[in-house]
């Protein structure tokens, strides 16, 4: 390995190949209590390229059909995340807020939450509300299940859409954690077992084998273009699938002939509900090893085998991804060998 990667330079020259940055990291290396070396530790963050947990959750919720993200906390949180995502995607991004003020911070945000939810239902007529918490709500100890219970008790007849909650305190993790948590909670709170065919997966395929059990694909935080490409690949393989989330249309659309309160597209809620009878789940992101994810929820609740793969970037990981599909007995492009190997999805 070394022989391949080492540049053909003299030992004397090699010293210059170390960049000033890595040099400074080397010289400032210190050890922690366990004696492990680490780079110089800063107390403050400087130009940190990470965002806060609710941002990831909001993006996931806009990848679900007819879902509006709702933040339980200060007005600023929703406006900042909107501004950030609008700048990035160049798409409208409406995120409601329970808009805490000082009294809510002291006495709790229950009434704000109720008013907020009812207003959102009235204005947007969403199919789903994705309620994520913020630092403020988490720290004062807002109990989301309790808030939901109160809301249903008081205004049950007016709560016309399901509400999925996710705990996303900004001081616990980054936007990626918020993203995965939201996908997990969607599956945890919506998925159930359903019988027979899946009329609800993203794309319908008539295959000779008749009824198909769909494959759940959790693609992690990738671009709208990546999502579109993944869908193309899945269609080519001829398998019914549910891609969650899918913001390829909601966050990358064209101009409108009429105003769309919530952009069309996204994973249908019925598909998420039917995930309990998926044949297998695939999750991208090797960092999710050991984490509680949508895949592990399906595994634990419904005994659905979970496959954790790297993002299909580069030849090796892309091959790994396509090999998974080829193993499926229902895939269009399986090779003879894998067909003979009675390949079903096994964990």
């Amino acid at each position: 390995m070394n022989a391949v990667t080492e540049p053909r330079t003299s030992r004397h020259k090699k010293a210059h190949l170390v960049s000033p940055l890595s040099q400074s990291l080397v010289t400032s290396a210190v050890t922690n209590e366990d004696g492990e070396p680490r780079s110089k530790h800063f107390t403050s963050t400087r130009n940190a390229c990470k965002l806060c947990t609710p941002l990831g959750a909001c993006l996931v919720f806009r990848g679900v059909e007819g879902c509006i993200p709702f933040l339980h906390g200060s007005q600023g949180c929703s406006t900042y995340i909107r501004r950030y995502l609008i700048s990035h995607f160049r798409e409208p991004m409406d995120i409601a807020s329970s808009n805490f003020h000082e009294e809510s911070a002291i006495f709790g945000g229950s009434s704000n939450f109720q008013q907020g939810v009812l207003n959102v239902l009235r204005q947007y007529q969403p199919q789903l509300i994705g309620a994520a918490t913020t630092c403020l709500a988490e720290t004062i100890g807002e109990d989301m299940p309790h808030l939901l219970h109160d809301l249903r008790e008081k205004h049950g007849d007016r709560v016309t859409a399901p509400i999925v909650t996710v705990s996303t305190a900004s001081y616990r993790g980054t936007h990626m954690d918020g993203f995965h948590a939201a996908v997990r909670e969607l599956v945890e709170q919506l998925a159930g077992k359903s019988e027979g065919e899946h009329p609800t997966s993203n794309i319908q395929h008539s295959t000779p084998n008749g009824a198909k059990r769909c494959v759940a694909l959790f693609p992690s935080m990738v671009s709208a273009a990546d999502l579109r490409h993944l869908k193309e690949i899945l269609v080519d393989f001829g398998l019914p699938f549910t891609l969650l989330p899918d913001y390829s249309e909601t966050m990358d659309g064209a101009t409108w002939s009429e105003y769309e309160k919530l952009q069309s597209g996204g994973t249908p809620i019925a598909s998420i509900r039917a995930l309990g009878s998926a044949q297998t789940s695939i999750e991208f992101g090797r960092v999710l090893e050991g984490a509680e994810t949508a895949g592990t929820v399906l595994q634990n609740k419904f005994s659905i085998p979970r496959r954790l793969l790297g993002l299909p970037m580069g030849i090796r990981e892309s091959d790994a991804f396509s090999m998974r599909w080829r193993k499926s007995p229902e895939a269009k492009y399986r090779s003879n060998t894998s067909a003979n190997a009675a390949g079903s999805w096994t964990a």
Binding site: A48, K50, Q75, T79, F100, N119
Partner: protein
């Protein structure tokens, strides 16, 4: 069809012909669930103070608050660029439980030692207000250790609206005023408050005042330095441009140092000229200042007027929607639009007060919608009802306009073209024309059936 929420109706008025200006509901907390375009207290403080280029700005809170306000305005500096960094204490769960004071102090000492700033601002976020960190005590300790002013900005997000954040910022920056040496400041000297040097606008204004023979002591906070702010109390007059954000500072300076202030605006020919004359009138003792101001206005207007007329011919009768942060900017924009032949069909702001809305109603043509603290659905509804050709707003409004095939002009802090001053008026007309008359709209489904001949000819 989009409906207004019942709670929101008192904050919307449609100007009726001949009717007296009505009192509008405003200045209250946003309705929960209304998807307000407003931000929070912290945002107000952060955007006002951040252009101070040689100060360290550190966000005491979780990383999100820091990331979303990282270099949030296009505020340019002619020297140090320290303000364009994003520093934060990135509070973690354990800090929230055990308190973040030690972390803040360590972060400040480390950053001040490394960057050698002239002062440091610490912005408190929601979470800091809740866990009760004594930021003032940390400021005091660090200030003693480092011998620079370390100023806490009490900007906990839930403590009100963006306007309260402006006040918190003014209170923090006011601690600096009066601590510098005012010797050498001439008799014809001013401060400009509420001008943030977006796209270099401060430099345009500095040039105008210089040509009039007026000295600018401090521009707060566009391209400003801590040293300028410390001696700002030596100026004879304060001109307040973004009145929503900086009037409280001007009032404090008037109270303690007897410096009078005038509200001005630098957008549009009329307001820009008035702002220059305002200063010239104040310095009555030297009539040559007024002469030079008149000369300057003549030259500048002559340079842009013919081109403006060309745009006016193309834009005549086109309708615009305005939704901005502060109402004072909306006044200027309405006048500027009139100058290029356009009508204002919708005008609104995030933080206007009763008096602002009264004045907007007086200025507006019959049928104009005036709105406080609006949201995307309402704005879309009004745009469709009034069938506007142009939307003037910020980042959050842009996709509403584009999705509906409406032209757009960014008049928020992220603009890249200077829109202040006389040259700014020309830039504004150019930008409006380029967007309104763009042939691309004929391909937008909603407007596809309309002929573009009128503007493209």
């Amino acid at each position: 069809m989009i409906e207004l929420l019942p709670e929101r109706q008192p904050q919307v008025v449609c100007k009726a012909a001949g009717a007296p200006a009505a009192d509008m509901a405003c200045g209250k907390a946003s309705t929960a669930g209304s998807v307000s375009q407003r931000a929070c207290v912290f945002c107000g403080s952060r955007v006002v103070l951040y252009p101070i280029a040689d100060a360290l700005h550190i966000v005491h809170g979780p990383v999100g608050c820091a990331a979303y306000t990282w270099d949030i305005r296009g505020a340019l500096s002619s020297g140090p660029q320290l303000h364009r960094n994003s520093f934060s204490t990135d509070l973690q769960e354990m800090d929230v439980i055990f308190g973040g004071e030690k972390k803040l102090e360590a972060a400040l000492l480390e950053l001040i030692a490394h960057y050698q700033p002239k002062a440091a601002f610490i912005y408190s976020t929601c979470i800091v207000g809740l866990i009760g960190d004594d930021v003032s005590a940390v400021c005091k300790r660090v200030s003693e250790k480092t011998a620079i002013p370390v100023l806490g900005v009490h900007s906990e997000g839930f403590k009100g609206t963006k306007k309260d954040g402006y006040r918190a910022a003014c209170e923090a920056v006011y601690q600096l005023v009066g601590t510098g040496d005012t010797s050498g400041i001439g008799p014809h000297s001013i401060n400009i408050l509420g001008e943030f040097n977006l796209a270099g606008e401060t430099w345009i204004l500095r040039d105008y005042y210089k040509r009039m023979g007026i000295e600018i002591v401090a521009c707060i906070t566009g391209d400003s330095r801590i040293g300028d702010i410390r001696r700002a109390h030596g100026a004879k007059l304060n001109l307040v441009q973004c009145s929503g954000s900086m009037t409280s500072l001007a009032k404090m300076m008037e109270r303690d140092y007897g410096i009078p202030f005038k509200r001005v605006s630098y957008f549009g020919i009329e307001d820009m000229s008035a702002a220059l004359y305002e200063a010239a009138k104040f310095f009555k003792d030297d009539s040559s200042i007024m002469d030079r101001a008149q000369q300057l206005v003549r030259e500048e207007v002559a340079a842009i007027y013919p081109e403006l007329q060309r745009y006016k011919q193309k834009l005549l009768g086109k309708r615009a929607a305005i939704y901005v942060g502060g109402a004072f900017k909306a006044f200027s924009l309405m006048r500027a639009l009139r100058l290029i032949g356009m009508e204002t069909a919708i005008v609104g702001s995030q933080t206007g007060d009763k008096e602002d809305y009264r004045q907007l109603q007086e200025m507006a043509d019959p049928g104009t919608i005036i709105v406080d603290d609006s949201n995307p659905l309402e704005l879309a509804k009004f745009c469709l009802e009034k069938d506007v050709d142009l939307f003037i707003g910020g980042v959050k409004e842009r996709p509403i306009a584009y999705k509906l095939g409406i032209g757009f002009c960014d008049h928020n802090h992220e603009r890249k073209e200077p829109l202040a001053g006389f040259i700014g008026m020309l830039n504004f007309a150019k930008e409006v024309y380029a967007s309104v008359a763009s042939p691309v709209w004929q391909f937008a489904p909603r407007r596809a059936h309309r002929g573009m001949e009128a503007v493209c000819a």
